[in-house]
Symmetry: C2
Subunit: 423 residues, 2 copies
Amino acid sequence: MILQIDNVEVAEQGLLSLQVAEGRIIAMGANLLCPPQAERWDGEGMLLVPGLVNGHTHAAMTLFRGFGDDMPLMEWLQTRIWPAEARLSEEDVYWGTRLACLEMVRSGTLCFTDMYWHFPGVARAVEASGLRALLGAVMIDVAGEDQARACQRMAENFLEQSRDFSERVQFTLTPHAIYTVSRNSLAWVRDFAERHGLRVQIHLSETQQEVQQSLQQHGLRPALYLDQLGLLHERIILAHGVHLDDEELDRIALRGATLVTNPVSNMKLAVGGTFPYRRAASRGIAMALGTDGAASNNSLDLFQEMKVMALLQKHAEQDPTVLPAEEAWAIASGARAAVLGQSGRVAVGEAADFLLLRQDMAETTPRHHPISNLVYAATGHCVDSAVVAGKVVMKHRKVADEEEILQQVRSRAQQICHESTTP
Amino acid sequence: MILQIDNVEVAEQGLLSLQVAEGRIIAMGANLLCPPQAERWDGEGMLLVPGLVNGHTHAAMTLFRGFGDDMPLMEWLQTRIWPAEARLSEEDVYWGTRLACLEMVRSGTLCFTDMYWHFPGVARAVEASGLRALLGAVMIDVAGEDQARACQRMAENFLEQSRDFSERVQFTLTPHAIYTVSRNSLAWVRDFAERHGLRVQIHLSETQQEVQQSLQQHGLRPALYLDQLGLLHERIILAHGVHLDDEELDRIALRGATLVTNPVSNMKLAVGGTFPYRRAASRGIAMALGTDGAASNNSLDLFQEMKVMALLQKHAEQDPTVLPAEEAWAIASGARAAVLGQSGRVAVGEAADFLLLRQDMAETTPRHHPISNLVYAATGHCVDSAVVAGKVVMKHRKVADEEEILQQVRSRAQQICHESTTP
């Protein structure tokens, strides 16, 4: 099956036609002949751009959107989030993830890196949504060796199960953080990931407290501790990375690890620092942008997130030229983080993961600078249609199962959160 | 003509009906009988909230959206904005303001405080859009006394003309800033405003440079200098207010002046400080939220702006409890700034200026906390319909003249900006 889109503007390439087959872009040009059996689509008035990539989220936490804001971090976790999470079933996680995928596709995100419990539920939701994701087996062993072993068995088990899913579901290991996973378990993660060629996600240096604890317990700052364990490499994705000194950044650059910044979550939870964009960029460190979960953001819209990312860096550096629109767009589309597997380019041979954006909206008129409009003026609502691996996942803002997803989440969220706050 | 809206949820008041006549809400209740001649509207599934109030903008600068971002402030002004502004006709300003009004109504702003040239063009655009605005006569006299006198004549002239417009157009004086308006002209503003009961808008303490210059030239920090001139009073609206010390805040509180914070613009232009929300709030200072012009934001969506306002304060104070959602909402709806004339309340007797919001959107599901959803998760795209002074200005996202406005701005913006950069 061939899909041909005509008369579409491709960012920086002008007006052309584009053909898609077997999940890839097979041709682009001004005068493409349309094969008779092709599905044909008039893209007039639309701007075609690569899909955005959410480098760090906890998708199913849409269930907890607005369930406790403006609270101190530990009080929020202890009185709201953890009791509610303890009640989640795999089916709850499935529907929470469906909602996240719905929100993401509606705001232009076609690939995401997720860290959450109940891998099979998350993976089924990703399959059903048509998106791509890096998912994983969460590991936390604060309760001791039994918990560690259980997490290891779970990871082995999920890796097996992951083979039943399409290539859009990519299995990773997701140890939670260096302060919730023991040295032994992190060594197990390193070896297991090495053996199976898996990518690894971990929260790193989100708070100053984590840095202090690492110095006390390991005599090393977090990134150097990871390096000592052999976990700082090209397959690791480090989420947050707020409190990193120059030595850590040098090491991250040397090892080819990837940093994912989450500016809205960092500001909302007031983690007491700013992602060191300029120092990281000057070292050529791979970077991506994440929303974190909807409980601490509370949106999954990367259009808004990339604006805040750019604003926060200009503010922190007291320099309006830092992180210009083109760079914000490149980071948000995955072009600066090869580990996520999305090139952020629209070209023949690339995966057919792209968006058609409306250009007739008040907020993006006039068009002095299309990329500036996308970064500083648009929201995810400019996305008209989306294609992942050559399949249309949203057409003219219609997404499959939308009504059912909203209904399921409304009733499940109310039940879970009501029960978890009822003594 | 009576408008009755049934089955609508009013924030914190539950499901009810609401009647509007002669620009005001005349009845609210569970079982309102609908008069036979009334226009009836089913609000099922909608949330009714007060319209938002943009406390500081330069509406017509939508023409320059994206025309120079990520640049140092003075280079941006000197090479882009000023040359382009010099070419603007009243008709250009009319259409630029129409676009701003279109963007504002589509994102829930029904009243705005504007500072720009060509008052008659701005006022006509406000009339045509159906919105409310505080408009004015800009005053800058850096060129000397002739310019000062010309600005004074213009203000007198515009005050006369303003009587031809409806009560939705409120005339104000808008001296640009203390560094662009002489002491004599500010005294003239004080007297003229006093004589005619006019409100006054001015930029204040946006940059540290302004503070230093004020100290050098007047021996006083900016707010104290304004007070010395007799311009710090209940009818003055101070835009930005980033660099204010405690003595200035005490004086602002004492005099009952109003501060308007513009967080996105401040971050984007990297003005080197953060609006002192906590210190201002603790003194009970009146406050509003503004977007600044679209050239330095580049959006006029107050939903996004209030999120950034709350995030920036939490970040600056390293405290997630600062500026909670309810307070952000109150500030954005004008409830904390009486001078703007909008109560931010939905009640019998109040002006019928309100929004109907969709509640079936992915990004605001589930509904643990409706106000949190509006502040942290929604964008202006949740606005379905809008009523100003009892008249429907947007119904199901349809606004009058939309196509023509976009077309006019596209061609005018290209012409102006092209000419201004052509040697």
